[in-house]
C-alpha cells in the first residue's frame, strides 16, 4: 500500500481552504449588479389567499419587483416535479398534487411562499416584504400523522380522500399471516419515529444569472446533485433547455439529504433573473430553513413479530403511517416504501414479512430523504421489536440476535422483501462490538453507577443498510423517474497530470481526497498530480449526485471503469512506442511494459504522445488498419450502473447512565463496529461513522420537529427549541471496522455515510429501557428527553 493509495490515511486536501476561510459556498458567490430576493411566507398552516396587495412594497426604496403566484401562472411556469411514483395496493397511482413555486390561491403549510420581493439590497427586500399585504382566510388544519386518516378531519387535497397519498403493500401477506398463526409468541410494539429537521449548518442559497444575448442561465445553488437540479428545474419548471442551463454547486456546507431537491427558491431566482435581466440572489435565514428545508422521518408504526418456542423469528407484520407533509417533495414517496420495507429482514432469517404503508398529507412542511431515509425507520422498528421480544420470551438480546442471524455461508441471500444480500458476517461484527465495548464488564460498571445513585443500561443494535441504490432498470420498474448510475471522466493533460470529473458531489465527505487516492492507485500517477472536479454541470459531463451513501461505490466505481479505459487506450499507444503487440503490454504502477522484457514507458509519456502525436501510427495503405488508426488524446469517460445495492452492516453497543431523580440520560459509552467493505481512507470512514452516530443520538435523545396541533405553527423552529446535539451532549465514539469486501463493485466498497445514523437510535433507546427495566418500563418514545424519562419512571414505579 502506498502512502497515498487505496487504504491509506491521507489527510484531506480540501481542508486547507476551509481552515483558512477560503471555502467558496453559495452565499460567498456574488455577481455584478445582483439584486436580492426575500420571500413573503404564510403564517397560516392552511388558508385561502383572498388577495395580495403589493403596491406599497413595489414602491419601496430599492425594490425591483414584487412577484406572486399569479405572475408564476401568467408566465406558464411548471410545478415542482416528483421523482418517484408509487402504486397503491388497489392498483391506483399515488395522488400527486400540483406544487407551484409560489402559492396560488391557497397555502397549505406555515412557511409556504406567497410572494417574493426583489430589491437592490437584502435589507431593502426584507423591509419591503413587510409592506406586502396578504389577506388570508384561515382554514382548519390537520397536523397529526395519527389523526390525518380519521373521519371528519380537515382535508389537505380534495383528491386525496382521508388525506391518503397512497396505500402501499409489500411482501407476502398470506405467508406472513400463516407464520403468525403458528407462532408460539407474538410481540407487538407501537412506535413513533418523530419528525426531524436536517439542519445542515450552511443554510440553502442560490444565485441565478441569465445572459439574454445567449439565452444561457447559470445557477449557483446549494445542491448535492447539480445535474439533477438542472434536469428537473429546467425541464419541468422553467422550460430552460438543458444545454443552455448551467448549475454550479461550489462548496456545500452539509446536506444530509436536504440539499438533494430542486427547491422552489432556486427556481424563483432563475425565473426572476430571466424576467428582470439582473442576477438574483437568495440565502435562507435559519428560520426559513426550519420551515422550508425538506424534513425527515415522521412515521407512526405498529409492528408485530411472530416467534417460535426457541426465539426464532417466523414472521414480521408492520403497518405504518408516513407523513408526507403538504406536498410531495421530489423523492418523498420512495422513502417510506422501497427504502423502508425492503430493509425489514435486517440481518435475520425471518421467512415471511408483510408491510403496509399509508402515506398521508398534512398541513406541514414536506418530508423527504434525511440521512438514512427510510432505513433508520426500518432499523429502529426492527431493533426495538427484537429487544422487546427478547424481554418477553426471556432470551438475552445478544442471543436472540445470534439465533436469527443469516449465516456467513448463506450468501448470496435472498430476503423475503426483494433484496439479494451479497455478503456478510454478522456474528463477527457483533463479536467485535461486544469485545470493544467490554460487554462482559458491564455488570461491574452497572453496580458502580448504582452506588452513585444512577441507573446504568446497555443496548444493542445490529443494523443493515442498502446503499448505492441500483440498478436503474429495476428502479424504473419500481417507479423511479431517474437513473441511478454515476459517471466519471478521466482526462490526462499533455504534461501527464490528470483531471477527473465526477458526477458525485461532496458536501463534506472528502471526495477530492478519496477519489484521488483511487485514481493514483489505479493509474500509478502521483496523488498530487490528480485533481477532482465535481459540482458543475458546465464542467462535469453528467451526474446523479451524492445521496444514499453512493459516492464511492457508484461514483468511485465509474472512476475505476474510466481508468480501465485509460489503460486500454494507453496500451495501444505504448505498444506503438515500444514496437510491441498490444497483447504483450502489461500495465502496473504507472508503467506500460512489454511482457518478459525490461522495455517500458510511463503513463505520463504515453499521455504526452497522445496529445503530441508525432510518434504515432501513420498511413499504411491497409484500409482496415487505417480505418482503425489510433486516435490522439487520452481522455475517457465511463458510466457505472451497479447491478445491485451493497449492504453495509454493523453492530452497535450503547451504554447510558440515567439519573432517576431528573430523568437526564447521559450516553456513557458508544461502540460502533461497521462493515463497509474495503476502505479507501480509514480516517474519512471513521469520521463519517462518528458524525452519523451523533446524528442518531440526536434523534434518540434530543431532536424533535414539533408543531402546534391546532394551528400548525412550528414550535421547534429555531436552535432555541430544536435541540441539536452539542459537544457536551455526546461522548467520544469508539468506532472500528470489520472488512467483508463487496463483490458487486470493482472497489469492493459499501456505503458508510448513513450507517451511524441508522444504527444508533435503537441502541440508545434499548439501553435506556434496559436502565429503567427495574421499574418495569417497557417503552419510551424518541426523543428520550429528561421529562419523558422522568415521567416513565414515575408512571412505572409501583406505588410505595
Amino acid at each position: 500500500m502506498s502512502e497515498t493509495g487505496i487504504g491509506a490515511t491521507v489527510l484531506r486536501r480540501e481542508d486547507r481552504r476551509f481552515i483558512s476561510g477560503r471555502g467558496n459556498y453559495v452565499d460567498d458567490v456574488n455577481r455584478p449588479g445582483q439584486v436580492y430576493a426575500h420571500f413573503v411566507r404564510s403564517p397560516h398552516a392552511h388558508a385561502d389567499v383572498k388577495s395580495i396587495d403589493t403596491t406599497a412594497a413595489a414602491a419601496a426604496d430599492g425594490v425591483v419587483a414584487v412577484l406572486t403566484g399569479a405572475d408564476v401562472a401568467a408566465d406558464g411556469l411548471g410545478g415542482l416535479p416528483v421523482g418517484w411514483g408509487i402504486t397503491s395496493q388497489d392498483g391506483s397511482p399515488m395522488i400527486e398534487p400540483p406544487w407551484p413555486i409560489i402559492a396560488q390561491d391557497r397555502v397549505r403549510y406555515v412557511g409556504e411562499a406567497v410572494a417574493v420581493v426583489i430589491a437592490a439590497t437584502r435589507n431593502q427586500a426584507k423591509d419591503a416584504a413587510e409592506l406586502v399585504a396578504v389577506d388570508y382566510n384561515p382554514l382548519p388544519a390537520i397536523i397529526s400523522t395519527q389523526d390525518s386518516i380519521k373521519d371528519g378531519v380537515p382535508q389537505v387535497w380534495d383528491d386525496a380522500k382521508h388525506n391518503i397519498c397512497f396505500d402501499w403493500g409489500f411482501g407476502d401477506a398470506d405467508a406472513t399471516n400463516d407464520a403468525f398463526a403458528k407462532a408460539s409468541h407474538v410481540t407487538t410494539v407501537d412506535l413513533v419515529n418523530q419528525r426531524l429537521i436536517p439542519n445542515a449548518i450552511e443554510p440553502r442559497s442560490s444565485v441565478a444569472d441569465f445572459d439574454s444575448s445567449t439565452g444561457e442561465m447559470t445557477l449557483w445553488c446549494t445542491s448535492q446533485g447539480p445535474h439533477a437540479v438542472r434536469l428537473l428545474l429546467g425541464a419541468f419548471v422553467l422550460q430552460q433547455p438543458e444545454h443552455k442551463f448551467r448549475v454550479v454547486s461550489p462548496d456545500v456546507g452539509g446536506g444530509f439529504g436536504s440539499k438533494i431537491y430542486p427547491y422552489a427558491e432556486y427556481a424563483t431566482c432563475c425565473w426572476a433573473a430571466r424576467r428582470l435581466g439582473v442576477p438574483v440572489k437568495w440565502t435562507a435565514e435559519r428560520s426559513e430553513s426550519f420551515l422550508t428545508d425538506a424534513h425527515g422521518r415522521d412515521h407512526i408504526t405498529k409492528a408485530e413479530l411472530a416467534l417460535d418456542g426457541d426465539g426464532r423469528f417466523l414472521g414480521l407484520r408492520v403497518s405504518t403511517i408516513a407523513n408526507m407533509g403538504a406536498y410531495l417533495s421530489a423523492f418523498a414517496p420512495l422513502i417510506p416504501t422501497y427504502l423502508y420495507a425492503t430493509l425489514f429482514a435486517g440481518q435475520y432469517t425471518t421467512p415471511a414479512i408483510f408491510a403496509e404503508v399509508k402515506a398521508v398529507f398534512t398541513n406541514t412542511t414536506p418530508v423527504d430523504a434525511y440521512r438514512g431515509a427510510g432505513r433508520p425507520e426500518a432499523t429502529f422498528m426492527l431493533e426495538r421489536l427484537i429487544d422487546a421480544a427478547a424481554k418477553e420470551v426471556g432470551v438475552d438480546p445478544v442471543d436472540i440476535r445470534r439465533r436469527n442471524f443469516i449465516a456467513p455461508e448463506a450468501f448470496p441471500y435472498q430476503t423475503p422483501v426483494a433484496l439479494l444480500y451479497d455478503s456478510g458476517n454478522y456474528g463477527a461484527a457483533l463479536d467485535k462490538a461486544l469485545e470493544l465495548s467490554d460487554y462482559a464488564g458491564f455488570e461491574a460498571r452497572r453496580k458502580a453507577s448504582e452506588a452513585a445513585g444512577k441507573l446504568r443500561g446497555i443496548g444493542i443494535s445490529t443494523p443493515i443498510e442498502a446503499t448505492g441504490a441500483a440498478p436503474s432498470a429495476i428502479a424504473g420498474q419500481l417507479g423511479a423517474r431517474a437513473g441511478l448510475y454515476e459517471s466519471a471522466e478521466i482526462r490526462f493533460n499533455a504534461t501527464g497530470n490528470v483531471t477527473v470529473f465526477s458526477g458525485s458531489h461532496s458536501h463534506g465527505q472528502g471526495h477530492a481526497t478519496s477519489f484521488a487516492q483511487v485514481v493514483s492507485d489505479k493509474l500509478g500517477v502521483p496523488y498530487e498530480n490528480i485533481e477532482i472536479v465535481e459540482g458543475d454541470t458546465g464542467r462535469v459531463q453528467m451526474g446523479m449526485g451524492t445521496f444514499g451513501s453512493r459516492s464511492l461505490s457508484v461514483g468511485g466505481s465509474a472512476i475505476v471503469k474510466a481508468s480501465e479505459k485509460i489503460i486500454e487506450k494507453g496500451k495501444k499507444i505504448a505498444a506503438h512506442l515500444l514496437e510491441a503487440s498490444v497483447d504483450d503490454i502489461e500495465f502496473s504502477g504507472g508503467n506500460f511494459a512489454v511482457k518478459g522484457t525490461d522495455k517500458s514507458v510511463n503513463i505520463a509519456e504515453v499521455a504526452f504522445t497522445a496529445y503530441v502525436p508525432h510518434n504515432y501510427p501513420h498511413f499504411t495503405g491497409d484500409p482496415e488498419a487505417d480505418k482503425n488508426a489510433l486516435e490522439p488524446g487520452l481522455d475517457e469517460q465511463a458510466f457505472f450502473d451497479p447491478l445491485n445495492f451493497n449492504f453495509p452492516y454493523g453492530a452497535y453497543v450503547c451504554e447510558v447512565e440515567v439519573d432517576p431523580d431528573t430523568g437526564v440520560t447521559e450516553v456513557a459509552r458508544f461502540t460502533a463496529i461497521d462493515d463497509v467493505g474495503n476502505v479507501i481512507n480509514p480516517m474519512i470512514v471513521h469520521g463519517q461513522i462518528q458524525g452519523g452516530v451523533v446524528q442518531g443520538i440526536g434523534q434518540a435523545l434530543l431532536e424533535n420537529g414539533v408543531y402546534d396541533q391546532g394551528s400548525g405553527q412550528l414550535l421547534s423552529g429555531s436552535y432555541m427549541d430544536y435541540t441539536m446535539p452539542r459537544a457536551d451532549n455526546v461522548p467520544n465514539i469508539d468506532s472500528d471496522l470489520t472488512i467483508t469486501p463487496c463483490p458487486m463493485n470493482p472497489l469492493g466498497v459499501k456505503g458508510c455515510g448513513e450507517m451511524g445514523t441508522i444504527g444508533s437510535p435503537p441502541a440508545v433507546i434499548n439501553a435506556i429501557i434496559d436502565a429503567l427495566s427495574g421499574y418495569g418500563v417497557r417503552h419510551l418514545d424518541m426523543p428520550a428527553t429528561p421529562q419523558r424519562v422522568w415521567s416513565a419512571i414515575r408512571e412505572a414505579r409501583p406505588a410505595a
Partner: protein, 155 residues
C-alpha cells in the same frame, strides 16, 4: 392556555363599564398601543407594538367588543397582522360584579400567534400574554380608580 385575573376597583360598576367602552381609556391601557380609533360602538382599529422574546413587531388590526351584556360583561377581542413577524390574536372575557359600591373585575384571556413570532417565541407566548393581560387590567384599574392596584396581584 388559561390566563385569569381579578381586581377590586373602588368605583361603581357603571363607571367601570363606561370606561371599558371608552376608546381613550383603552388606548391608554393597552400595553404598546400606538393608536386606537373607534369605527363603531363595538369596532375599533388599532396599532400595537409588542415584543415576544427576540421578535418585536408592530401589529395593526381590529379590536372588537362582543357579547355585550351591560354593565356586567363583554368580550374584548383583537386580531393584528405584524408583517413578517406573523399575526397575533387574542381576547378576554371581562366580568364585572357589584360589591358594596365597588367593583370586582375578573377576566379570562387567551392568545394565539402565528408565523415567525410563534416559531421563535413559542415558549414565551404564554408568559408574554399573561404579562400583557395583567398589565392592561392593572393600567385599567389604575386609570378608573387611581391607587386601586396598590398591593394587588393577578391570580
Amino acid at each position: 392556555m388559561e390566563i385569569k385575573g381579578e381586581y377590586r376597583i373602588p368605583a361603581p360598576r357603571e363607571t367601570v363599564w363606561q370606561a371599558l367602552n371608552d376608546a381613550d381609556v383603552l388606548r391608554e391601557c393597552i400595553p404598546g398601543c400606538e393608536s386606537l380609533e373607534k369605527v363603531s360602538d363595538t369596532e375599533l382599529t388599532a396599532t400595537v407594538k409588542a415584543k415576544v422574546g427576540p421578535v418585536s413587531a408592530k401589529f395593526s388590526g381590529a379590536v372588537t367588543l362582543e357579547d355585550l351584556n351591560p354593565p356586567e360583561s363583554y368580550r374584548i377581542a383583537g386580531e393584528g397582522k405584524g408583517g413578517v413577524a406573523g399575526f397575533a390574536k387574542g381576547g378576554a372575557v371581562v366580568h364585572l360584579a357589584d360589591d358594596g359600591g365597588e367593583t370586582i373585575l375578573t377576566y379570562e384571556a387567551d392568545a394565539k400567534v402565528g408565523g415567525k413570532i410563534a416559531q421563535i417565541g413559542s415558549r414565551l407566548i404564554q408568559g408574554t400574554a399573561r404579562k400583557l393581560a395583567d398589565q392592561f387590567f392593572r393600567n385599567f384599574a389604575e386609570k378608573v380608580a387611581p391607587g386601586s392596584t396598590q398591593g394587588e396581584n393577578a391570580a
